[in-house]
Amino acid sequence: MSLRGRHNSTNMLVETASFLVIRLGGTYMALPADGIRGVLTQAEAGNEQAVTAAGNVYQPVDLAQRLSVAADLSGLEMRIVLYSNGRSYGAIRVEQMVGLVDVERKDCLPLPPQFQRDERNWFGGMMLYQDRLVLILNPSWALGESSGIVAVSVGQAEQMVAATPAAAGGSC
């Protein structure tokens, strides 16, 4: 299945954020679109784990393994997303690319404070896309820059939630 097109918000005055929605197993996740450097099929990427493109080496990123998600990366819809934040470069294998989406920032929600451990570092927030829960990946973590995980206390988690406007949306 190919990319299903871009879903734009029509109101030009509304502040939006762009994401690439991907699927791993039954989990839908989103990567901020500004870090996307390319999308390859397995045939285009070749047999090497790392991918070299435009002079940069994109190291393999196994999100499914890091998130303990059961995913089938052998299917025809598997794609390799070349992703960078300007410092690190990752070749992220995804089971399916679902689509590009512009989301109003108010529609990005924080992870509820009941989630208190490593996942707070994995995900910057969440949103609904086509009636599905989509978890917004933290690019730095996805690229392996912040694997030292925060194990926040209950009080810290409360402060984090209170300190962000995300409690009422705006978590992206």
Partner: protein, 158 residues
């Protein structure tokens, strides 16, 4: 769906008696203060979320609202009974939280405050226990469910 009658609310205010919702998880009778329960409705399929927080590994979508799921059955090592299962919404201090409970429709009970024994259970946060129909029923502290577990896990790790 479950609301205390005006008379019961008055009794609650005076603290001479507590209004509780009695529900069951894997056949185990449990109770919760009515003010800690946001509602009871049919359970719908939850959405798994990668997570390392014990017993908080899914979300439930209701209309356009999302709330975390607390797996109380897993914590109590129980298997849920009946069909369709029900969803009890806990008014947790961190926000609404869904708990899947047995298909048995919860009941409302009024218990005398003096009959509540303030004995804690090691396996779950409670406000005490009370005898209802000759069964010892723990009153689950829904507002802080999972908090002591979090602290215990953290203490043992660090």
């Amino acid at each position: 769906m479950l609301r205390a009658a005006p008379g019961q609310q008055h009794a609650q205010a005076t603290k001479r008696s507590w209004n509780v919702v009695v529900f069951s998880v894997g056949g185990m009778k449990l109770a919760a203060r009515t003010e800690d329960v946001g509602g009871v409705s049919p359970w719908t399929e939850s959405i798994p979320v990668p997570s390392r927080t014990p017993f908080v590994q899914a979300m439930l979508k209701r209309d356009n609202h999302l709330m975390p799921v607390y797996d109380l059955a897993e914590r109590l090592s129980r298997k849920l009974i009946g069909s369709p299962l029900l969803c009890l919404v806990a008014r947790h201090l961190d926000g609404p939280m869904a708990i899947c409970i047995d298909a048995d429709v919860p009941s409302l009970e009024t218990v005398d405050a003096t009959a509540i024994r303030l004995n804690g259970r090691g396996d779950i946060e409670t406000l005490g226990s009370v005898t209802i129909g000759e069964i010892d029923v723990a009153i689950v502290a829904l507002q802080r469910l999972g908090r002591s577990k979090q602290e215990a896990v953290r203490s043992s790790k660090y």
